[in-house]
Symmetry: C3
């Protein structure tokens, strides 16, 4: 017991520190300090200050709603004078992170189910237009005019109000893209502009497409996918008011015609009607338009002890590199290497008789 | 060749270890052991046991389906006696991670396209209700009563069955939120409750809104977005049965009226009909309601050699900090610092004539 | 000032390196080199070459469009001869990351709102089929035949064209799943096959379900959720052409009948018609079908200085483990441990009179 206490005491009251050779040399000293300085600058300047290595990060969790606004009218011989509002051109009426604005269409009216000469078989099964049309009138009756302008080309002036609520679960931090300092009056008139109104959440369709470097009339005719990207990169060690959304726009489908099946973006849907006698007929609409995908991404960082310690720990280990580098030069490259080696090393042979080989005194 | 072998042999059979000064001092020894203990406690207790620094993590990949249930009826002068079921109030009929329950509406019936005094122009183009209505009857004919109660206020008792399948690709681990020990009988009667039924995947709308601290009748009247958050934080080093979903509820739109355009949540859609003479008319519905976004997030951790080694490595490097700290105190602050320095350092001058300066023997 | 410069000069031109005992012993040397070799092999081979520890990673941001193709026909006594195309069986017409193909249905035709003996009350409020049906004809009139085959069983041959655009924001790298070397001619005829056509983005429904190990006819009858998983694991230090999508298929709903409410996948929707006299009636459709969720995931890695340095730093710290391990053996386990201890340690007592205890010369 007493022996155990003695060992424990010896262990507790002991302090070991490596023995050091201190070489006073202008060349080696300067080199050593330079390498140490570079490593320190990297660890402090780059890892800590620039890349915020002391922070833990979390990925964004997001919820988006989109509201389109705008009315336009068309006047064609088949359809007559018509007004188009939100309920007509947004299909489906609501989606989660996305909104589709119909800008062009091919309408096949009054399709009824009945018998007609061609029965769909193996050869026609891929033709989705293969439905029998009892009435001779109405197939592809409108929408494809010469010069291929988009039917609802006025959609250029429609607007999207994007509401985005983000959340960083690890830090329980949430924020909306309608910032607290934005007034209702401002929101009623503003249109997003990268320079003048970077935080206005209302986007004019034409401006979105142009910002991505494309022509609205082209994309409106054939359809396409536009990405509205919202970047939330937040440093939560600073005030919440510095955590701001950054908007950017990108076209997500390709226009590369060389290897492209079904270019643009379109889909088919039908409106179903019942005849007075109870039979059902439908109007098939091939809708071309722009799908706006709201893509929210970003990372938040906040001080945390673990990444800090990992970076300090590996920074300290890297400082050891300075010594290793200088050792290589001093002990292998310099003229007086044997002199320095003698100072640094104490050679011990495995055999007692080898004791005489020791160069250290 | 032989010389090469000799060098290789010397290299292979060599072992180098730093020379150490072992100082037997109560003060310094205790300080040294205390600092080492603190660092060890941090590395083992905090990094490994608490934060599970030995684990690699993966983010969740998720698939969600939602099924609403509930029927209600209304009796108004315009619409008469009406029954509302799932096919009427869920719009669109299915979505990916979301479900919209219509709770209130403004119906504009029997809109036809025709000529009327006001032609939409620049001044009215932002009015989405600017459509010409041929019949004088029916605009805003129902739904907005005094006191603004929600039209389908009984939606409070509707239920949502949320099925969620998650997957951690890195670990090829998948699980469902309907746990294996839940019986069909239980699922037919249970309603989620944070205390009594925390794993029942069936949610009563009223309870969701209340859990988030809001009034169902308020949100039902104006519309809103509710987040049903499912957290899957799993420690895959334990049995799969411990990997459980945690539900929480949050309102995702803001009620802050000061800076809020189009508060609540609503959208417009139309039902299209054909007249006996073939003309089309529509009923425009401005649907107010609650969109429930199912937000799935979480991280799984599993033992992996790389984060373990990174943490051990930087932990070891941090242990070196104890020595550095004690060195500073021993060599710069203590009375006998010159005595200790003499023991630790061996001074070597760059010049042979400087040999006399060596203080170490 | 001059004193200050002297201290600074002394500091700048100083170089310290630990003093080392070099033990020449076959046993200890070999052990030391073996441990060092193992640690080096782990750091270089596993951490750097295999796990690419020198890379920073980013998670994928993705946009998906899906286009279904296929036509089929049915011939039943109630519905007569009918043709089904994309506009009939895709509900809703477009979604963001998902597509629903109706494969089976229960149709309740000509539902009108009117009075009938049963008024929905507390007991029937959960019955979503509780609507009053004025006409006696038509409830559940079709779709459920004996042997339960799926109504649109030919959906097995329908195809999905999946277009996927991915983006790694941190590296500003984007790519599409229609690879640059794929020709339009190939895309017009190809069908995905894991072996022969692994990069064809067109999937036959039957093949998807079979690849996941299920029977198409079973899933078509009851409905279900299939995941089309696209994995984009990219090493951006290599050419962009090596960054390729990998497809896999998984069933996301469970078939485990023991604890399963509402198995399969179905939802209700209605088509609304107006009678010649202006009254509204509807056809209620309970749609069974397969929802295809396109799940895109993956990580891209690219060389970055910080993870490289963290791994080098902790690798260096781990190399120190070799010394610690060998020290334990040499100083505590070997016969000549006292001899080695004498060489490694220099004992210093706290008291000047303790100077005589020093065993080091």
């Amino acid at each position: 017991m007493a022996g155990c206490c003695a060992v424990l005491g010896a262990f507790l009251f002991e302090y070991d520190t490596p023995r050091i050779v201190l070489i006073r040399s202008r060349k080696v000293g300067l080199m050593n300090r330079t390498v140490q300085l570079l490593i320190l600058a990297y660890v402090i300047g780059w890892v800590f200050v620039w890349e915020k290595g002391y922070q833990e990060t979390d990925s964004v969790v997001s919820s988006v709603t989109v509201k389109a606004k705008g009315v336009t009218m068309t006047n064609t011989s088949k359809l007559g004078f018509r007004i188009w509002d939100v309920a007509d051109y947004v299909i489906p009426a609501q989606e989660e992170n996305s909104v589709f604005i119909m800008t062009n269409m091919v309408i096949t009216m009054n399709q009824t189910q009945g018998f007609c000469p061609e029965i769909p078989g193996k050869t026609t099964v891929c033709e989705t237009d293969a439905n029998c049309t009892a009435g001779s009138a109405g197939t592809h009756s409108s929408g494809v005019a010469t010069g291929r302008p988009a039917f609802l080309r006025a959609a250029e002036n429609f607007t999207l109000l994007v509401k985005n609520n983000i959340w960083y679960p690890k830090f329980n931090f949430s924020k909306r893209n309608i910032l607290p300092n934005i007034t209702t009056a401002y929101l009623k008139t503003c249109i997003y502009d990268a320079k003048t109104d970077p935080f206005c959440p209302i986007f004019r369709l034409g401006k979105i497409v142009e910002s991505a470097g494309h022509s609205f009339q082209d994309i409106a005719t054939e359809g396409g996918i536009m990405g509205i990207q919202i970047k939330w990169n937040c440093n939560l060690d600073r005030a919440a008011s510095f955590c701001l959304p950054r908007y950017s726009f990108r076209r997500l489908d390709t226009r590369d015609t060389a290897h492209n099946v079904s270019p643009g973006y379109n889909f088919r849907f039908a409106k179903y009607y019942s005849d007075p006698n109870g039979a059902e007929h439908r109007t098939l609409i091939k809708a071309y338009g722009i799908r706006f995908d709201i893509i929210v991404f970003g990372k938040a960082g906040k001080f945390d002890i673990i990444p800090t310690m990992i970076n300090i720990g590996s920074g300290l280990a890297l400082l050891g590199v300075a010594t290793v580098l200088c050792d290589v030069i001093v002990l292998y490259c310099m003229k007086k290497r044997y002199y320095y080696r003698e100072k640094k090393y104490k050679y011990v042979e495995d055999y007692e008789q080898g004791l005489g080989n020791q160069m250290d005194q």
